[in-house]
């Protein structure tokens, strides 16, 4: 039983990291209908920004954390302006967006390798590594913090989308970008806001990630898993991204805990494919014909 609880907690904590990254994919997809693969690169840079704000600039942790998130926020908007807007203006097919996104991602990774170098950086120890013991189950302080920060951020995001004017504009644009533009919504601004939000979350995910697993140029690879989680939950749906991520985290840990860690990815992904066969738009995806 304690083994099961421990695995469940492991799964939740892994899942909450996936969730933070998956919402970035889902937000952009809901508006632009393409998967922003540059997201992984922005997360990686978020981790580096956080690291340098903490060590080189000597900022206190909460400040460094917010400033890093704001920096990636700006970066995501710059990427949108530089890599996607020109394509958007030329009404390029969505495949070109994906290629441009992949290019940006490779560019960011290689830029970091060339300028900062390929070696690892380790965050200073901000939270004690001694875990909190509840009975026979141990919960890492960092995991708990990550879980709480993820939950707060996601709650704020949902509030923003549901209760502000801009949030409503995002929803309308997600529903139909042309009609929204005709109704007087500044869709260009909506797109900027969506990228800024995605970038902000990428920064938060990056810093948390860096604290937990150290910083290196290939850290963005981990977003593959969160992208899959976003698809599983239903691309374009925020609750779907969160639920998909948490489920993927738990499925992974339970598989390695009770079946076999050698076959973890195999079993977990066969399960995901099975779900997608019956629900091609994911668990909570919009069922619309034109958005493929």
């Amino acid at each position: 039983m304690s083994q099961f609880l421990q695995q469940l907690i492991n799964g939740l904590s892994i899942g909450s990291v996936y969730a933070l990254m998956a919402v970035g994919y889902s937000l952009v997809y809901s508006i632009m209908n393409f998967s922003n693969f540059a997201h992984g690169g922005v997360i990686m840079l978020g981790a580096y920004f956080g690291y340098y704000y903490l060590t080189a600039a000597g900022l206190p942790f909460p400040v460094a954390f917010i400033v890093a998130a704001l920096t990636t926020c700006l970066l995501a908007v710059i990427i949108e302006r530089g890599a996607y807007k020109p394509l958007r203006e030329r009404k390029a097919p969505f495949l070109y967006f994906i290629i441009s996104a992949m290019g940006t991602s490779i560019f960011l990774e290689n830029m970091v390798i060339a300028t900062i170098g390929p070696t690892f950086r380790t965050y200073p120890e901000i939270l004690s590594r001694t875990p909190i013991q509840i009975g026979s189950v141990s919960v890492g302080r960092l995991d708990l913090t990550m879980f709480i920060i993820s939950a707060i951020c996601l709650a704020l995001l949902v509030f923003f989308i549901d209760h502000t004017k801009m949030g409503k504009a995002i929803q309308a644009t997600a529903y139909n970008i042309k009609a929204s533009a005709l109704m007087g919504i500044n869709t260009d601004l909506v797109i900027i806001v969506v990228f800024a939000l995605g970038g902000f979350f990428a920064g938060i995910a990056g810093v948390l990630f860096g604290m937990k697993y150290t910083v290196y140029p290939q850290i963005g690879i981990i977003t593959n898993k969160s992208f899959i989680a976003a698809v599983f939950g239903g691309l374009g749906s925020l609750p779907g991204a969160v639920i998909g991520s948490i489920l993927l985290g738990i499925i992974e840990t339970i598989t390695s805990g009770y079946f076999s860690s050698q076959y973890r990815d195999l079993i977990a992904f066969v399960l995901l494919i099975a779900v997608l066969v019956f629900r091609p738009s994911g668990l909570m995806g919009k069922v619309t014909e034109d958005k493929a």
Binding site: A92, T214, I221, S256, R264
Partner: protein
Amino acid sequence: MYKRSLALLLVCLMILTLAFSGCSKPATETGSEAGGETAAPADEVIKVGWMGSLTGDQAVWGQCEFDTVKMLFEEINAKGGVLGGKKLEAIGYDTKGDPQEAVNVAKRLTGQDKVVAIIGPNASGNAIPIAPVLEEAKVPDIATVATNPKVTVLDGKVKPFNFRVCFIDPYQGAVAAGYAYDVLKFTKAAILYDVADDYSQGLTEFFEEFFKAKGGTVVAKEAFKFGDVDFRPQLSKIKDAGPEVLFLPVFFKEAALIANQARELGITVPLMGGDGLPSEQLFTMAKDAVQGTYIVNHVDYDDPEVQDLKTRYRNKYGKELELNGYLAHDAVVLLIDAIERAGSADPVKITEALETADVQGVTGRIKIGKDTHNPEGKEAAIVKIEGDKYVFQQKYSAQLD
């Protein structure tokens, strides 16, 4: 239509630029190296290739190897070179840790640069696929830390142009198992290995075989996949199995993450690992968690014999010498000896000389076995992590049948 093709052009251009910016870096690096040394007439320069990771997870090691080779060549050239006055020139390319790229690099070194021999790569996964290229070009290669048996011997047949200066995985696995059981008196071991890596799988297989043969039990054998950063599901299971030692046949990045997470979950048993662990990076990432870890290593860092090399490297580059540097040094020693004994810079003659080589390197005596192209009977150094030092325990050799 016009706009669409323009966009397409733009994207293609962008990708092309990326592709070039990705590849050109190592080339320019070597370009400047080569440029500095091509002052001597072409026939008096002996070109030696180097390959290894200059980007990616193992870049720390690759960079150190290449730097060591360059430093030694400079020193040799300053003392008058080889074969009575010929200068050595190092040409190195990045394999990016990718087997496909390693083959390309080998082709480029042998075909385009016409090197007389190649040093590296350090990873078995990259050293294995280059054999056909070497055989076609008839150029010998001395692998540095590629410990998989298949690097030099395939299906019981020795590969004619592949050599190495390190011991091999079965030996390393046997040493780890023997030391854990006989010296440390552990009877229950757990293993956490990388299911997608030749090195990790090989070491796991031989550790398990030898540990069981001695009478020990492997209470848990868990796997992860390269790129994973969270190991708590596997570690939770390992914790439940109650091992006395956790064997980690992995590289330092994973080892550091695993160590941190294991301690967080309350696993307090000592860790044990192979030659993938020692790195200065291990301490920056997980100093507290790796205390008391036993490592099967190629070299005793405190050995008086190696101090001179360590100092020379530190003075030149302002960094500590990584494990790979020691083996790169021995590869150079082995190669220079072969060139001098061959009395020529002909790759085939160098290969013949390598087959009968017997030199003293900083990692021990290197006596190349004719049927294996491995250094025979090389002892392993067992080191233990205490503070931020690798404290030498003892030399240990295992019996392989």
